[in-house]
Symmetry: none
Subunit: 235 residues, 3 copies
């Protein structure tokens, strides 16, 4: 099943969005399944290149672990969208590299900011863990955990939205901005609906076997690239 | 036995301090024992969050090794109190990250300053050794010793004070300042009344077995958190 | 045999130098032999603290390898003398950390400059190799070689001078300057009259067995500290 049926309901009564979706559908490659051993390459700064990801379960989350490997040649003071999950009304779960170099994590509202090592042309393995109970949030860079921050205890991520790589959709798939776009490589994205242990995150970092993500699993991920995105062997 | 009896004598005849202590007692959780596998998380900049530690012996010290693991999201140019031991009249033994990034060690008076790698969101293991005989002082960062400095040969640390994490008490538990407070994580604090060998400090850094501290031992430490401090599993 | 007889000849007819030498002799500890497992600590910036080293052979050198481990708390923009070998008329062989952070190597005249990693409070193992035949000069930092530079091919280092740690003597043991003095630690200094192989330099760096220096060998070195210099266990 493709992503398109899920896009239709909220486009009713909104001709501009319907037009946008039409354009996306025209530009889109077919949805495909599975990226084991593959890298997504976003070679240029654009306002039209992105990849839509289809979760394996509804993203009504009270905890999660999101992991991906990322590399970029973009300058250190350029804002970059790393992960965007948006419902009709909210930026539900965004990860940004900010202009000041910090990495931010946002759950529909003001975000929380982390001082991490720079994201460079060499691959960084980046995980983000959060749980609603106490609001403990942390990034894990190459298997090392940042200091915990307390963020939105009690919150629940809303289901029914769309996950994009490469662009931030300020209105559910509308208003893409080239100056926020991602340029570089993403691979091995996995997401779980719970907080992984330190040893599991480190195992993932080192490429050892870990149970694949139950929200997203790179090896069997359903994805639909749009615009100028390359799928290449991870070599 | 709790910490409160030790707080009482110096509050006599000082109604403001008595009030402060009353507030602290009201806000305090009970004193607890043992933090094996746990991390203290100070999530916000406050002037009221701290943890009092009760030593296993009187802190009349002519030598010591103080070790802890620490991580913070605070900016690099922010002064941070890392460890404070104060008697009624003196800052007996303080460790600060200074505004200029250096780490200082103070025994009741002017301190001595070390150029260490930055303390970041990732955990740094930090030890400090000092012995009164020749005044040899050094920090150990992730098992590597700084250059020795000669500091206060002949001095003795005075007993009978209070150890705080999270705040510097300019007057024995009064006058806390948010802009000097600690925000981040502390774990695995141990203190010995002698100078540990290089191999013992490196063993501690790598999490191998070493004889636990006879002044403070994290696994059996008596501690009393006040204000907004979380005790979380170290994962 | 002490170093003093060798100091006497050039002080004749120069009362100021004679006075200086008298002071040095008065302040000097006895000459000692062997520093295995020991570190020289220069705790303060002075114009009177240094250590004189007595070579095992005359330093008439057409090639050499000089190795030492060094750590300092001095600011990055402070000039520091690391090694000084001077005859009556010439700075025969000097190694400096320059104000701009580069490390220089001087054979009686203009020096040659290398961009090396900073010398910090943690120990750096530093070797310098040079051979007269082609003039190939390189520093080795923690076992990694700098780019070669060609410096003074055909030159021969003159014998009969004095080696100092801690100070640069602009006139053979006169005119010491506090602002160029060394503050910090030196250990494990060895010097050979030939160029060591990469594998030998790396073995030395890692503390493995290598044939000890035939010009200087730390374990059996003849040394005479003056002023405020501590000899401490390397721990």
């Amino acid at each position: 099943m493709g992503l398109k049926p899920r896009l239709e309901p909220w486009s009713e009564g909104c001709p501009e969005l319907a037009l946008l979706i039409l354009i996306i559908i025209i530009n889109s490659e077919e949805e495909s399944v599975g990226l084991a051993g593959k890298v997504l390459v976003f070679p240029y700064e654009t306002d039209f290149s992105f990849v839509t990801l289809k979760p394996r379960m509804e993203m009504e989350l009270r905890a999660f672990t999101l992991c991906l490997r990322v590399a970029t040649e973009l300058p250190a003071d350029r804002q970059i969208i790393l992960f965007a999950y948006r419902t009709a009304d909210y930026d539900e779960l965004n990860v940004w590299r900010e202009r000041d170099g910090r990495v931010s994590f946002t759950l529909s509202g003001d975000g929380v900011f982390f001082h991490l090592p720079p994201i460079t042309t060499f691959r960084t393995s980046l995980c983000l863990t959060w749980e609603s109970n106490r609001g403990l949030a942390a990034f894990w860079v190459d298997g090392k955990r940042s200091s915990y921050q307390v963020y939105k205890p009690g919150h629940t991520v809303r289901p029914g939205g769309t996950v994009l790589l490469g662009q931030d959709a300020d209105k559910h798939l509308g208003d893409l901005e080239a100056t926020q776009s991602f340029v570089g490589e993403v691979t091995d994205l996995n997401m779980w609906d719970h907080v992984l242990s330190r040893s599991a995150i480190q195992a993932w970092h080192y490429g050892h076997r870990v149970p694949e993500g139950n929200v997203f699993a790179w090896a069997s991920i359903e994805y639909a690239p749009s615009g100028n995105v390359l799928v290449v062997d991870d070599d």
